[in-house]
Amino acid sequence: MAYALQQLINGISLGMIYGLIAVGYTMVYGIIGMINFAHGDIFMVGAFVALIAMVMLVSGGIMDGPAAILLVLAISMAFTALYGWTVERVAYRPLRGSFRLAPLISAIGMSIVLQNFVQVSQGARPKPIEPQVIGGIELMREGEFVVQLSYMQMLIIGTTLAALVVFTWLVTKTPLGRAMRACEQDRKMANLLGIDTDRTISLTFVIGAALAAVAATLYLLRYGVADFFMGFIVGVKAFTAAVLGGIGSLPGAVLGGLLIGLIETFWSAYFSVQYKDVAAFSILALTLIFLPTGLLGRQDVEKV
């Protein structure tokens, strides 16, 4: 019981990170109908920006504690958003109106470019950081086993919830969000109403990348390591989450992320850690076969 509760906490905090990344996949799919295969690598770039900022601030002795984490988060969001914007501008926009497969191939190309760029500029070896958030609170004790909610997990859950609240407000209540939904539902018509749809699409990539940066900073703080290839596995899992939730659906992406996080954690806890990726990707295959529209894909949900 206590063991399961601990897995639940671990699964939720991992799942929320997947959910944040999945939102980026599903948003871009909603608005231009392509899978942005470079999104996982945008996440990886976000982790490296956070890592560099962290090393400069903390190891450089400029500041530490919560203020440093907040500043690292902001720096990572800003730089990663710029990467997201650039990738769209350079690799996808010129191909708009081309055949459907063209931006997809371009996305795979961008993914390779980003990985190699980071590999060459930062080195191929995994880069560790000192743990920044230590300790936690004890929830319950069952014999020898202690169920703990770590401060890191609280940080993950709190930050993710805050990011999702701001994001939901942005999409449902602001003129920008309305323009994004208009582009998703009928891009030609949005254009006919004077909306600069290219700009709206750019902003969608910027927002998606900023959310990936939030996920990346939390991931870095939680696991303490970044490498140039980390975006692949995490990216594919977040993509699985987006498909499971129903690609195009925003609440679906978060739900899918949570489910993938939980499945992976429980699988590792009760079956085999080595096969945890197999579990996650079997879900992708099963979803595509038996539930291709995902859990929330066909219902009349808010989509971007």
Binding site: P175, R178, L192
Partner: protein, 241 residues
């Protein structure tokens, strides 16, 4: 802008979707405060003309002047911020947005306060006010048509482009929509370019009309003149369509 500058002046416009040339050199004029109708059979190029005036597709050749200003090469979203609005073919209401949000979308890119326009649209189409919280996709055809026109009006246009507002609607609703167009024209001097297959009613409403046949203007005249022409009667009013 002088009184004599036409609202819209189109010269030798050529437009195409891919390899198919839909407009083969169309010239027409819409003066300020006029209702002009463009009639023609299915596939004559009427909708392509309206879309091409909005830069989508951009004209291959020819010239479009809006109040004397050359807009031929302008991108669509810029043209739609110069006082042009379109209620397009197929209505294109945003299906998963509320009626209110659909209307607000009409004013969004223009930068003015939407409240006064919203009030006017609700006064013109009270049905939309009743349904303002309902999703666009759940409205009936007539209500969607009202919404598409209302959304176009939200931008405070000086030139309104209407594509087949009568399509698929009951005669009573068609009359209601046409009288709304006339009221806007008379009360506010709104200039209207109206594309219709329903030639009879369109020509009665309009000051002048053009007939478009496979991408070319074949006839023009006042509404009454065109209504009286036997070839128009045979081709467009005979109920053959």
């Amino acid at each position: 802008m002088t009184e004599h500058t036409p609202m819209l002046e189109v010269t030798d416009l050529v437009a195409a979707y891919g390899a198919v040339e839909a407009l083969k050199g169309v010239s027409l004029q819409v003066r300020q405060g006029e209702i002009v109708t463009l009639i023609g059979a299915n596939g004559a190029g009427k909708s392509t003309l309206l879309m091409s005036l909005c830069g989508d597709p951009q004209p291959r050749a020819g010239r479009v002047l809006l109040e004397g200003r050359d807009i031929t090469a302008c991108p669509t979203h810029e043209i739609m911020r110069m006082g042009v609005a379109q209620s397009p073919e197929g209505r294109r209401v945003f299906p998963r947005m509320s009626v209110l949000e659909n209307l607000l979308m009409g004013a969004q890119a223009q930068g003015h306060d939407p409240a006064p326009e919203l009030e006017k649209v609700f006064a013109l189409f009270p049905r939309l006010k009743e349904r303002q919280a309902q999703r666009g996709g759940t409205l009936s055809g007539g209500e969607q048509q009202m919404l598409a026109i209302g959304r176009a009006l939200m931008s405070k246009p000086r030139l309104l482009l209407l594509d087949e507002p009568s399509l698929g609607l009951a005669p009573l609703i068609v009359r209601q929509i046409f009288s709304a167009i006339r009221a806007l024209n008379e009360a506010e001097g709104l200039t209207v370019l109206l594309v219709e297959q329903n030639a009879n009613q369109a020509l009665r409403l309009a000051h002048r009309g053009y007939v478009l046949v496979t991408g070319r203007i074949t006839m023009e005249g006042t509404g009454a003149e065109l209504l009286a022409r036997p070839e128009i009667r045979d081709a467009y009013l005979g109920g053959g369509h």
